[in-house]
Structures are given as structure tokens and as C-alpha cells.
Amino acid sequence: MKGRFGIYGGQYVSEILMHALIELEEAFEKIYPSQEFQGEFQELLRNYAGRPTPLYYARNFSTLVGFKVYLKREDMVCGGSHKLNNALGQALLAKKMGKKRLITETAAGQHGLATVMAGNICELKTEIFMGVKDIQRQAANVKKMKLLGAKIKPVKIGAGVLKDAVSETLREWAACSRTTHYLMGSTVGPHPFPIIVATFQGVIGREIREQILEKEGRLPDAIVACGSGGSNALGAFKAFIEEENVRLYFVEGGGESLESENSAAAFQLGRPGVLHGSLMQVMQDPYGQIKPSKTRSAGLNYPGRGPEISYLCEIGRIKACYSFDNEVFDAVKVMARTEGLIPALETAHAIAYVLNHREEFSPGDIVVINYSGRGDKDMETILRYFYEA
């Protein structure tokens, strides 16, 4: 069925928004493959975003863990994370659809930042919904977004985090969907968003494939990526889903512990349910009330896993893993000391998993970590953890 991955996916939205989803699906099918769109888009990816990003052999880190580790350097995409791949694609699509304005939500601020960058290039006004708690902990990105001209809309309802910001953006969209595009930041939401975002992020995996074949003459044994909604992970995995010998690890935010109210590990703690327009794995109470997730990493703080990621996990194609907050901070330090790189807290979940589960990999293995973003935005949180605790 259209927009379904097994039981997951669908279009659970108000009738008000259906016209916009249908319009978007038709536009994407028509515009995305066109030569005109591809020409402009590839040009932007190359000369604005800085693609292709390097696949870096992390020699010192490899020596430490005992097998070969490559880092797919999405932190080198302009703006500091993979988020721009999708934002540029959707903003360009929105412009060609004749939309005047972009709205979106952000947690870590990376997607908000990417959206206002893309919006400026495409001459679209940008409005960003952000939970009040996230505004506080991602102050650096908020300043950047404001400087770039985005209007920041603080979201106070609920716990003031990503889940609440997504709800609020959907409400806003219901009031303005004729002129405004909701630039969904992850592989979540109603069809066709999960497919569109995965398509635009798929560039990550296509590059990994080409680069690793060139460097090693073979495919990797494993790809490790962090995620909640799943955009960077699915982007990295997509080109390898049919390759049964490539193990795919999806690392969620374990939070403090897997005890309730202290985690964002929806594959461990959730079950199928409907949130924000899509049936997916989601953390909820026995009655179906959505539970707020919790992790120190704002970008992984979402109680749902996108429909395609949910499906791939259910059929056993990806392995669902998690890292705890303390492991994550330690991983930041290890990466900084071995490779001179400060990863985003989200990215550090993938790094922490590799560090703490070396037994899952053999000495001859080639492992690619999707290095989804840099840690500048988290400096305050990181320094507070190490020097004030």
C-alpha cells in the first residue's frame, strides 16, 4: 500500500492537511526527477553544502577499538550536520511548488539552521518552532538561526521539547498549508514525508558505497548510525538494505537508564502507535498516551521511530541499539583525543556504541560510523558535564 512499510506509515492527519500531502506527493514525483530540479539541486549540494563529504579513515580510533573504522563526515556539510541535504532539497521543491514560506520544528537546532539556510537561498521566509527547553540548551544554534533571519516560535506546551514542537508545527500548517511548506526534518510524519526525507538523505549512503569501494575494494561489514526519527541513519543505510552482508546498527538515545521517564529508546520501550500522522514504534503508556522521551541529546529526544526504520527493525534488517548519556560524553572525549574531532552529542551515541560493543566486531571488519554532526552546538553541555559535575 502507498506510504506503508509493513504495518507502519500512513496518513493520520486532519482532513484539512490532506490536500497539502497530495499536492506534495504529486509535486515530488514530477519535479524531483526533472532535469531542471536535479541540475539546481546537485549544484547546491556540491558548491553550497560541500558534497561529497569525505569518508575518513580514523586510524587512531581504529587502533583503539581493534578494527577499521571509517567516519562519513556529515559534520563537514555546511551548517555542521547532515540536515542540509534534506533542507535544500525540500526548500527547492517548495519554491518550485510556488510556496512562499517554510515552517519547521527543531530540537538540536541543526534542522532549524539548515532550514533557514535553505530558505534564504530559495528566497522563502522561515519560521521555526522550538520547545522552550531546547531553546535553552541549544542557545548557540538559536542565535545563528536568528542571525540568518528565522522567526523562532517558542513552544511551551507539554514538556517543551521536540514532540511538542512537531505538534505545534502541524497545527500551524493546518492554518497556512496553501502558501506554506512544512519542511519535515526527519523520516517521520505522514506520507509522503518519510519517503521524501529518505530520498534526499540517501545521498549519504550512495557516497559511502562509492567511496568505500574505491578505498577498500569491497563493501563495509557494518554501518553504525544514531537516530530517533531516523533521517541520518536511513540516509546512510538506504544504499545497503539489499546487501545482506552489511550489518546495520541503529543507535537510539538510552538517556540516563532504560527506566521509564529517563530514556528515549523507543525500540526498547515502545510499541506500534500513531503519532504525528504516522503509525510507528512509539513510547506510550498502556492507554496510548504518548510518553515524553528523555535524553541529554536534544536531537534524539523524540518518542517515535520513523515508519521505515520501524519496519526495518521489525523484520530484523537493522539492529536496534542504544547508548546511555554517560557513555556518550565519554565517547565525545575519546573521539576528541584520538582524532581531534568534537562530535555532536547525537553522533556520539554511534561512537559510544562502537566503543562499548567491540565484541560485536571482528579484527578484519570495516565499520563505517555515520558521523552526522559536529559538537560546537553542544560545547556548553559537554564542558558542564566534564568540569562542573
Binding site: 502541524l170 493546518a174 498549508s177 496510548g288 498516551q289
Partner: protein
């Protein structure tokens, strides 16, 4: 009372219908019971009985707060359904439409949810995040059980979709009068009137208009424009929310507004039928 009988009776009296939307358990179950009874005694012809949900994406700030308070107070879907039973035991005859977001239904299991709703004395269900694309299983089950699945149309609904929705509609059509969420500011736009006309031209099923309706004049205008009735929700919650520690004190004000809305429904119907006021 069956919905058909209700609409026939309302029409025979020369009135438009008034559906009052309440989120049960806000701020406590006792209050909701009194609130619903007050509304029914003061001009509400149908009760839209809401089971609170944690992420009500079609609802504005007032109903979000209502859901949040109700959930904090510990209301559950089972308690809501018990609440309907209690209301029926206390003598409530008004038709009840049970409204909630799809995840609540999905969690209870579709068949289980509908059976419990029917046992409690519900006439129809309305799921605001279940467009026609996703509604097939519930449509089949509600038909089998003799319940109505209330479908919605919006100002953004295309002609093609409208026909598809109307072909499946039962009970009444819930016409979302504006682009936005519940509790939005009233916008008496030509587009709403045009939409009402368009829907009425294609169906004999009653058309109830909701979203942003808070005053007598709103009800009057929409019914005069051809609607069979209006839905009012946030406007009632707004009244007791300002006095949330003792909402009972606000029941008389709520009763007053309910009567006003009903008056608008009557006047609107008269204008529509070209009867002198």
C-alpha cells in the same frame, strides 16, 4: 435517541442543531458530568464527548490545556466510557458522539473500542486524525455495529475528495469551517458558506459546522448559510478554565452561552427558511 430522529425533531421544531464538545475529565470527572448535563439541559442537542489525548494535533491551546489537565488528573479511556454509562444511568437522552485521536482507538483495538462505545450508549464516533484514506476498517466495523463514523470535510477538500467522503458519510458531515485548529478566531468567510452550499448540493446528510464558533451570531450566520447545525467546544472550556480550581462556579455562565448558541441556531434556521423573526 438516534441521530436521524434527533435531526428530524430539531428540524420539525424549526431549529438548527447544536453539538457541544467536551473533553472528559477536565479537571475532574464529577465536573465533566455536571458540565455535560448542564449543556444538554440548556440547548445542546448532541454531546461530542472527547477522550483526552496527549498530542491533540487538531486542537488549539484551550483544548490542549484541557487534555493536559484531564490526563494529569488520571482520566483513562476506560473511565471516559464509564462516564458515558454514568450519564446514561442518570438519564441523559442526548445523542453522544465519541471523539478521540486514532492512537487511543488503535490501542484499545478497533472492535473492542466500538463495542464498548456502543454498550455505553454512543451513537457515533469521530476521529479527527483519520482521513478517508485510513478510515476503511472503521467504516466497515461501525456499519456492522450500527454506529455512525462521522467524517470531516474542510475548506481545502477538493471536489473529488468531497464526493468520495460523502459517499461514505453517515450520521452527519462535520464541516471544518476554517483552516486551523479548534478554538481559532471565528472567520466568517465566503469560502465557508460556499463550502456549505457545495456539500449540501451533494448530500442529504445533515451538515454540522465546527471550529472557531463561540457566539450566537456565528451560529446564526452559518446556519442561515445552509448548515444544519454548529459545534461549539473551546468556547465552553474557556469559561471554566479561568476558574479551574472551582469550575462548578462557572456552570451558570456556561448554561447562558449554551442557550445563546441555541438561540443562534433557531434564528439562523428561521433566516434560512425565510420565516420572519
Amino acid at each position: 435517541m438516534k441521530l436521524e430522529e434527533l435531526f428530524n425533531a430539531v428540524r420539525a421544531r424549526g431549529e438548527g442543531a447544536h453539538m457541544a464538545h467536551v473533553y472528559y475529565g477536565d479537571p475532574c470527572e464529577d465536573f465533566s458530568i455536571k458540565l455535560i448535563e448542564t449543556l444538554a439541559e440548556n440547548g445542546a442537542d448532541i454531546i461530542e464527548f472527547g477522550i483526552p489525548f496527549s498530542d491533540p494535533i487538531a486542537d488549539g491551546a484551550i483544548f490542549q490545556a484541557a487534555c493536559e489537565r484531564a490526563l494529569k488528573a488520571g482520566v483513562t479511556p476506560a473511565k471516559c466510557i464509564e462516564g458515558i454509562k454514568k450519564l446514561r444511568d442518570r438519564g441523559l437522552k442526548t445523542p453522544v458522539i465519541l471523539t478521540t485521536y486514532f492512537n487511543i482507538v488503535y490501542n484499545m483495538g478497533l472492535v473492542n473500542f466500538l463495542n464498548k462505545a456502543k454498550d455505553a450508549g454512543v451513537q457515533g464516533v469521530l476521529i479527527p486524525d483519520l482521513p478517508i484514506e485510513e478510515a476503511q476498517p472503521l467504516l466497515e466495523l461501525t456499519r456492522k455495529l450500527g454506529l455512525h463514523l462521522i467524517l470531516q470535510v474542510a475548506p481545502t477538500t477538493s471536489r473529488e475528495r468531497l464526493s468520495r467522503i460523502l459517499a461514505e458519510a453517515s450520521g452527519f458531515i462535520y464541516l471544518i469551517g476554517l483552516e486551523g485548529v479548534t478554538g481559532s478566531k471565528f472567520r466568517s468567510k465566503k469560502t465557508t458558506a460556499t463550502l456549505i452550499e457545495k456539500v449540501k448540493a451533494e448530500t442529504n446528510i445533515p451538515v454540522m459546522v465546527g471550529f472557531g464558533i463561540s457566539k450566537r451570531e456565528h451560529a446564526e450566520t452559518l446556519i442561515a448559510a445552509g448548515a444544519d447545525g454548529v459545534v461549539v467546544g473551546s468556547a465552553y472550556a474557556r469559561i471554566y478554565a479561568v476558574n479551574i480550581t472551582n469550575p462548578f462556579e462557572r456552570l451558570s455562565e456556561i448554561a447562558r452561552l449554551a442557550r445563546e448558541i441555541k438561540l443562534g441556531c433557531i434564528r439562523g434556521q428561521k433566516i434560512k427558511l425565510n420565516v420572519s423573526l
